[in-house]
């Protein structure tokens, strides 16, 4: 069955709490790089919460914008990869094949959202922090690009389970780690091609917009504008 995985983020609900950021690190074996590397901009936040100041004190506003791979339909990262490490999978994801990647970083340069991260060094986990590793997610090594996968390990697990039980996947049956954690229920994940799904319904909202829509990437992440 054809699917198009997508996500809706309601910016009117998002409170900037960053539960998604910590959840993503835990689920996807993302390395911390330490202060010196962080100062060089080499942290690997597959999801980050950007913040934008508007106005001047005291009439000041601060707005949050979670940013992660937009799983673009027309993804600039895919066309530049010389070794097909980054490609479009049948369910509409920008997938990254780690063991094809040769580390040209072309994809990172092409991505307008800054959501691809390069392993400048082999990641280090002081023992026994390594015992936390999620066995469903491979640990990346030096010279490899990595990025948000919409928790493809969870997608595959759920699909296999549904297949074994000879049934269709149910909407909301599973969620990526960020969505599962989100305390304000600001994130909704699902199949955009299924008109009955919650995510497809929310994507029709008159507040719906896409990040940097003008550059023509056709993201599959839809943001619902904050009302105030």
């Amino acid at each position: 069955m054809k699917r198009q995985w997508g996500m809706v983020i309601d910016l009117d609900r998002c409170t900037g709490c960053e539960a998604c950021v910590a959840a993503c690190h835990a689920e996807n074996n993302i390395a911390t790089v330490g202060d010196d590397q962080a100062a060089k901009g080499r942290t690997m936040h597959w999801i980050r919460v950007e913040r934008y100041w508007e106005g001047e004190f005291p009439d000041v506003r601060l707005r949050y914008q979670p940013v992660f791979c937009q799983q673009c339909a027309d993804a600039p990262c895919e066309s530049v990869c010389p070794v097909y490490a980054t490609y479009h999978n049948p369910e509409g994801l920008n997938a990254q094949v780690y063991n094809r990647c040769v580390g040209t970083r072309y994809c990172g340069n092409a991505c307008p959202y800054n959501v691809r991260f390069f392993n400048f060094f082999n990641p280090v986990w002081d023992k026994p922090l390594n015992l936390q590793f999620n066995p469903d997610v491979s640990v990346r090594s030096v010279g490899i690009m990595e990025k948000c996968t919409f928790c493809i390990q969870r997608i595959k697990t759920a699909e296999i389970k549904a297949l074994a039980e000879k049934r269709e996947l149910k909407d909301g049956e599973f969620n990526p780690a960020c969505v599962q954690s989100c305390p304000a229920n600001a994130m909704v994940f699902g199949d955009l091609d299924d008109p009955q799904s919650e995510v497809a319904r929310l994507a029709q909202s008159n507040r719906a917009t896409k990040l940097l829509e003008g550059v023509g990437t056709e993201p599959n992440v839809i943001c619902l504008r904050s009302v105030s």
Partner: protein, 756 residues
């Protein structure tokens, strides 16, 4: 590891297991074969209770089979065991409903932290040097028991003190029973962001000595006076859940949210209207709103009832708090006060929330009472969309919780030689780090002849101990928790260990029971349980006869069902006990102007330390995931900073990242400047949490600790530290500081995205 080593360890371990493995589960060596129920590659979900902050959310632990390197009898071996892989919210738990915050997510790193204390330690060098030698559990328990028994003298109070973080569980009950049996005073509870003022105010206003719960999901208007309720305050996950629904969960209805504070917090950033009021004038503003509502007859005055009676001149319509007068003191325009009051009254149900810096003032209690009175006037107490109090589960023994002395009183007593303390036991409290220098906590504790600590990490306080009996992590032990707020159901969370212990540690309550049994006599009799698990089973059984989340009839069925579900909660919404009449002997309060330490001419800035989104009060600073999680307002990682208004910075010649010196009358510190548009020009803010001397490799010697320059000002009616009542001066040092910002180096700025 090769096969030969594996067999060697297996032989040693099984021989040892045969010798001393009987009885206590902790004495068993970890099994070499996978636990039976674990299938390699298949995840199990076990219930848990989060202990990262006081909210007490229910969690699910994803456990999978894995190989852990452990040390037993000096030998390193690989053991196949169930390992916690991920923490999620428990979908059935009434507080967090399947959701979990960043602190909760990062809790995994507590168990697997490389600097966890792995076995009992006895001090081998001078006190505070951090030099320890490994000892056996038998020695450690004998050492503690003999110290305590040598201090027994019939007829006299026991000179034993217990210092702990506030515990909302049966560990707290056990500690009090242990101390009572010893004849020692009740435990001293310490946390930096204490909630004494708010609990006292709620007791006076509503007869509930506890934190409030807000039904945000049904509110149409929320006004928060300084409470960071979406970030660090009270029960953040449950408040986020309610907030999300208030905004977009009700078709056609969107609640308005107004935040009043002097420095924009993570919560304040979400407000429709952000109001800068002068620090400590939040209660005045609340009464200004009440004045308008009363004088324009938007609500009947008698709606205020008992809560209003706590405020002077309530019945006369608060003549001293007319908008013009309030405007002068708060800095909020009179017309705006009128408009806000009318809006609030028109958009019922409306609710006022007060917390954080507003209460950490010399007039903190009056500020809290004023907000409570406003809620009563709005008719929002125990009404949908308003403020509630979480009913406590009918467990006998919980109600008998005792108030102990404060750390300030304890240390003052030790230094003045008026409180004899011959032995001090410490559990997860770190007042040496988190108290003003003037309290002289370290100096006082150094005078105690014997200190034992149960913590999992060496921190500034536990490094003074002579004996360390390291606790299990909360994933390795029995955990329970009685949420004080965050739900309208009575909840008693409970979970058995989700995994076997990784190191040679023991659960604190089990150690306490062992010590009690070794002491024998009255102490042994007072604590009859063999293990903490037994104590919990006995404590939870009375819940069986109340309608709740389990329908089991027999004690065994009930016990196993409670363990499977992660606790017990009452069926549907329970009504909290009827409000008690407020104590009539308390004279009505007047909200007066706050007092600050330091003359305004010499120390021109209000200093605002605030709970860190990353580390709360610093107790989470040891976790690398949180160190590298950017603070969302500043985007800073791995350090501390000083928030300063750009205009103030320009006037003082300070640029972003400059190392500046902040000095109060009580000390000074240095940190890089962060120019922030969301802070009042006369306020300097700084997150609490960094500046540890000792707290593992990720936190030690990193950043500065704002608590150390605070004045020891207290809120006079409760004795709580007024941590927001210090004035400071600021000057550049001429050097650059280390300011690491995520937002610094991004190429693209989707600013146009937010156009309206």
């Amino acid at each position: 590891m090769d096969r030969r080593n594996f067999l060697k360890i297996a032989a040693v371990s099984s021989a040892a297991a045969a010798l001393d493995g009987c009885g206590k589960p902790e004495n068993h060596l970890i099994r070499f074969i996978p636990e039976e129920e674990l299938i390699p590659g298949v995840a199990q979900r076990k219930p848990g209770v989060c202990t990262q902050c006081p909210a007490g959310c229910g969690i699910q632990v994803r456990v999978m089979e894995g190989e852990a390197e452990v040390t037993r009898h000096g030998q390193v071996g690989l053991l196949s065991m169930g390992l916690a892989k991920k923490l999620e919210g428990n979908p059935d738990h009434p507080v967090n409903r399947g959701k979990l915050c960043a602190w909760g997510q990062a809790g995994l790193q507590v168990t697997y932290h490389p600097d966890r204390i792995r076995f009992p330690l006895r001090r081998s060098g001078p006190r505070g040097s951090g030099e320890y030698q490994e000892i056996s559990w038998d020695e450690a328990i004998k050492d503690l028991s003999s110290h305590l028994s040598s201090l027994k003298s019939p007829g006299k109070a026991s000179p034993v003190a217990f210092l702990t973080k506030p515990l909302h569980d049966h560990c707290g009950v056990l500690i009090e029973q242990f101390l009572a049996a010893l004849g020692a005073p009740p435990a001293v509870k310490f946390e930096f962001f204490e909630q004494t003022v708010l609990r006292r105010a709620n007791e006076l206003s509503f007869g509930h000595h506890q934190l409030p719960t807000f039904d945000l999901a049904n509110s149409n208007y929320v006004m928060s006076f300084g409470a960071d309720f979406l970030g660090t305050w009270n029960s953040p996950v449950s408040q986020n859940l309610g907030y999300g629904t208030m905004r977009q969960g009700r078709p056609g209805l969107r609640g308005k949210f107004v935040q009043v504070e002097a420095r924009m917090s993570q919560t304040g950033a979400n407000a429709d209207e952000w109001i800068n009021a002068k620090p400590g004038t939040e209660g005045l503003l609340a009464l200004g709103l009440a004045h308008v509502i009363l004088s324009e007859k938007l609500r009947p005055a008698e709606a205020a009832g008992e809560a209003g009676a706590r405020i002077e001149d309530w019945s006369k319509g608060l003549p001293d708090y007319a908008p013009e007068a309030v405007s002068k003191l708060t800095g909020v325009e009179a017309s705006r006060i009128q408009r806000l009051a009318r809006e609030m009254a028109a958009h019922a149900p409306a609710v006022a929330i007060i917390g954080g810096a507003s209460l950490a003032q010399t007039n903190g209690l009056a500020n809290a009472l004023a907000a409570n009175a406003l809620n009563a006037l709005l008719g929002s107490v125990e009404k949908p969309g308003g403020v509630f109090f979480t009913p406590q589960p009918p467990i006998p023994g919980l109600a008998a919780r005792k108030e102990g002395a404060s750390v300030r009183e304890l240390c003052g007593g030790i230094l003045a030689k008026s409180t004899p303390v011959e032995a001090l036991l410490i559990y997860n409290a770190n007042p040496v780090f988190a108290s003003p220098s003037e309290w002289r906590v370290r100096e006082a504790l150094e005078k105690v002849p014997f200190i034992a600590s149960f913590g999992s990490f060496v921190d500034e306080t536990s490094i003074l101990s002579d004996l360390i009996l390291p606790d299990h992590s909360y994933l390795e032990s029995w955990v329970d928790n009685i949420p004080e707020s965050g739900t309208t159901q009575a909840v008693a969370s409970l979970a058995p260990p989700a995994m076997n212990p990784l190191h040679h540690t023991r659960a604190m309550p089990d150690v306490l029971l062992d010590v009690a049994h070794q002491l024998g006599g009255d102490v042994g009799k007072a604590l009859p349980w063999k293990t903490y698990g037994d104590m919990l089973q006995a404590a939870f059984d009375p819940l069986r006869s109340h309608p709740g989340s389990t329908s089991a009839k027999t004690a065994d069925d009930f016990w196993s069902e409670v363990q499977d579900k992660g606790g017990w909660w009452s069926a549907g919404i329970t009504k909290s006990p009827a409000m008690r009449a407020a104590n009539p002997s308390i004279a009505p309060v007047k909200v007066s102007a706050p007092q600050f330490d330091g003359a305004a001419q010499e120390y021109p800035f209000n200093f605002l330390p605030y709970a860190s989104q990353q580390f709360l009060d610093g107790s989470l600073a040891h976790l690398p995931w949180l160190q590298e999680m950017p603070d969302v307002v500043s985007t800073a990682m791995w350090g501390t900073w000083i928030e300063i208004n750009p205009q103030t910075a320009e006037r003082l010649g300070i640029q972003q990242g400059d190392l500046v010196e902040v000095a109060s009358q009580h000390g000074k510190l240095q940190a890089p400047a962060l120019l922030s548009p969301g802070i009042a020009p006369e306020v300097i803010a700084m997150p609490v949490g960094q500046g540890h001397e000792h707290y593992g490799r990720y936190a030690s010697e990193r950043g500065a600790n704002p608590i150390k320059i605070l004045a020891a000002q207290v809120e006079p009616q409760t004795g709580a530290l007024a941590w927001s009542a210090t004035r400071v001066k600021v000057k550049p040092t001429g050097q650059k500081g280390k300011l690491i910002l995520l937002g610094g180096g991004l190429r693209e700025s989707p600013r146009e995205f937010h156009h309206r």
